[in-house]
Every structure is written in structure tokens, then in C-alpha cells.
């Protein structure tokens, strides 16, 4: 979901849902009468389709059950159109926080920006005109000052969302932030060399006390930035796979897994 107004309507507006409900009712009615006329194989195939429509219906009835709870959500109706970067991120972030807070979902991903070249964005508190982050990260010699500002800007947005979550008190007396794992990071350690090593990762929250907080953990001495040696880029020897972090988080959430992707173990130093 990337359009704030559509997202808002989908998550928090009940009349939008009644429209969906009317449609699923119609589809299911049609499907029931059609099913009688089908052969066995077609009935099986049709069953899958039937189930997928049923899933939408279940989702809508669960949402309806939360109507009272959702009506208490205090959110301004988002304005349409192109917004300055920070405003856009904070708005989509507010929608994510409200979804977690009300229990619409327990799991969410949040992609701050696409991996796209030629992405002039208006970083409203930094520059007068839209500027391209991709261009900055590729020409660090020339634009390093701008790049530092943009990195800081994105960190401010993350801090804003952490703070929002930290103000939400939950039933167990802790805050929403305490009770979740909110992981911020990038898939590249350095945009100019496109290296997949030395990834910057921050975890906010402790997953309900399962993870330590307030520390800097360097989990590998071998990882590092790609260096240019005699004109060719040398990849470092290899640090701890990122998948070890994902395995650690998945297990803490109660999953019974021995491996996740190329994981080699869990990161026990992260656990409380």
C-alpha cells in the first residue's frame, strides 16, 4: 500500500468495507448456484476460488467486529497528491502504527524508498528543490555533505515512528515499542560499490523483553566495506549472515525453525 488515502480507507473506513461485503455476498451467491452444475474436477478447482472469496469475507467480518475499536482511532484523513518526503513517510508510518496499535495486524513491512535511479524527492527540511538520493550515494566525493543530511533525515523519520510507538501504552503496562521488534536497515552496506556486506541494522524494541536493548553489538570482526586494491574491488572475508538475525527473530516469535536462508546459527548475544 503506497497511497495514504486509499490505505486509510481500506484500514479504517467501514463504509468502504460494506461495499466489499456486498460484492463478496454477490460472488458467493453466484458461486453457490454455479457449483451445482459443475463436474467433480471443476468443483475441486472451483473450491479453491470459493475459499479465496471466503477469505475476503472472513477478513471483512473480523474488521466489522473491530468497528468500535477502529472508530476510536484518532487519525486525520490523509490528503491526496504528492507530499514532501518526511510528511509522506510519517503519514504512512502513522497508518502502520495505528494498524499495529488496534490489532489490525501483528506483522508489517515498511519500504521507505524504491531502489530506483533518478529519484528526485523533496526533502522538505533540507533543500529547496527535489534532489536525488541515488545520485548522492554514487558520487560521495562530491555530494557527501548532502548524503549525510539525507541519512540523518531518514533517521529522524525512524526516530519519529519509534517515539510514536513508545507513547502507545499496551495492556501489559509496557509500550507498543517495548512489545515489538521494529527493525530498520538496508540491503546494501555502501550504495556506490553496491556491496552486500557491512549492513547497517538497528532494532528498536525488545519483542516483549526477549531482546536486549541499549547496546551496540558488532557481531563479526571479519565484515567490512569493500576496498579497492590495485584497481579491483576486494570483498571482505565475510561476516555473519544477515539471515542469522532473521532466524533469531523468527525463533523468538515462536517459530520452530533450524535455518532461515543461509543462516549458520542464531545470534545469542542479542537475546535477553
Amino acid at each position: 500500500m503506497r497511497d495514504p488515502l486509499l490505505t486509510y480507507r481500506r484500514l479504517f473506513k467501514s463504509d468502504e468495507r460494506s461495499a466489499y461485503k456486498n460484492i463478496t455476498d454477490l460472488v458467493l451467491d453466484d458461486a453457490r448456484s454455479l457449483k451445482k452444475e459443475l463436474g467433480y474436477a471443476d468443483q475441486q478447482k472451483f473450491g479453491e476460488y470459493f475459499e479465496s472469496i471466503r477469505a475476503i469475507e472472513t477478513q471483512i467480518s473480523r474488521l466489522d467486529g473491530m468497528k468500535a475499536e477502529l472508530s476510536k482511532v484518532d487519525l486525520d484523513i490523509p490528503l491526496d497528491g504528492k507530499m514532501p518526503r518526511g510528511e509522506y513517510i510519517r503519514l504512512m508510518g502513522d497508518l502502520m502504527v495505528a494498524s499495529l496499535q488496534t490489532g489490525l495486524t501483528n506483522v508489517a513491512t515498511f519500504m521507505v524508498g524504491p531502489e530506483r535511479w533518478d529519484t528526485p524527492y523533496l526533502f522538505e527540511s533540507l533543500f529547496d528543490k527535489p534532489k536525488s538520493h541515488h545520485m548522492m550515494s554514487h558520487n560521495q566525493g562530491r555530494y557527501v555533505d548532502d548524503l549525510i543530511k539525507v541519512d540523518y533525515f531518514y533517521m529522524e523519520q525512524f526516530a519519529y515512528l519509534c517515539d510514536r510507538m513508545n507513547r502507545v501504552e499496551e495492556a501489559n503496562g509496557k509500550t507498543l515499542l517495548d512489545n515489538i521488534l521494529f527493525t530498520y536497515g538496508s540491503g546494501l552496506g555502501d550504495g556506490s560499490t553496491h556491496q552486500y556486506s557491512a549492513l547497517p541494522i538497528i532494532i528498536a524494541g525488545s519483542g516483549g523483553g526477549k531482546f536486549i536493548t541499549g547496546k551496540h553489538l558488532n557481531v563479526s570482526a571479519k565484515s567490512g566495506l569493500v576496498k579497492k586494491v590495485n584497481g579491483t574491488y576486494k570483498t571482505p572475508e565475510g561476516g555473519v549472515p544477515l539471515a542469522n538475525l532473521w532466524l533469531t527473530q523468527a525463533k523468538a516469535m515462536g517459530l520452530k525453525l533450524d535455518r532461515f536462508a543461509d543462516s549458520t546459527s542464531t545470534i545469542s548475544s542479542l537475546l535477553a
Binding site: 503506497r2 486509499l6 474488521l63 489490525l104 524494541g205 557481531v219 565484515s223 527473530q249 536462508a261
Partner: protein, 104 residues
């Protein structure tokens, strides 16, 4: 890190983590699309991307069964004229080649 100063007791900085780039695709294309991937590098034969069902969906299979939405996927890409492939624009995937972001 400065903007997080007020919350430093509630965060952890983790460094020293690496991923493996699998040659055969554009250098940017595995940055986001394989960030949360459950596929090991070189494990999939029919695609150059080591990309399979992502962590969010795998965790949601366990803890997202009672909520109206198993997971939600948010994105702050306001461009309507997306020029690059879907790998550049999605971190959440149901499975190999099936991203779970849609325009709502």
C-alpha cells in the same frame, strides 16, 4: 544515530552482518527484493534471484492468524511511472517472483 538519542535505552545497533550477492542480476536488484528472503544464495535453479517467501509472511503464518490482516505492506514510493522491475520496489514477497505489495 543522534535522532534516536532520547530512545537509546530501547534500541540496539547491530553491525557486522553480511549478505551474499548472487551474480546474474542487476547489482541493485537484490538489495530490497532479497533482504528478507528465506532462500539461500544459489539455492534456486529457475531464477537468478535468491528470493523466496519473506520473513514477514513466514512469521505471520504463525502470529498473524487471528488478526484481520496477516501482514500489511507499506511503501513510500510516490512515483507512478515506475521504470525499474518489481525487484526494485518490493521487500515483501509471498514466494519466488510474487511480491505482495499492491496499490491501495
Amino acid at each position: 544515530m543522534k535522532p534516536l538519542a532520547g530512545l537509546k535505552d530501547k534500541i540496539t545497533l547491530v553491525t557486522g552482518l553480511d549478505r551474499t550477492f548472487q551474480p546474474g542480476t542487476d547489482v541493485h536488484a537484490q538489495c530490497a527484493s532479497c533482504f528478507l528472503s528465506s532462500a539461500s544464495p544459489f539455492s534456486l535453479k529457475h531464477t537468478p534471484y535468491p528470493q523466496a517467501r519473506t520473513l514477514d509472511h513466514i512469521i505471520a503464518d504463525k502470529i498473524g492468524r487471528e488478526t484481520p490482516f496477516k501482514t500489511l505492506e507499506f511503501s513510500c514510493n510516490s512515483h507512478k511511472d515506475n521504470k525499474e522491475s518489481i525487484q526494485f520496489d518490493n521487500i515483501s514477497w509471498y514466494g519466488t517472483g510474487a511480491c505482495s505489495s499492491f496499490d491501495a
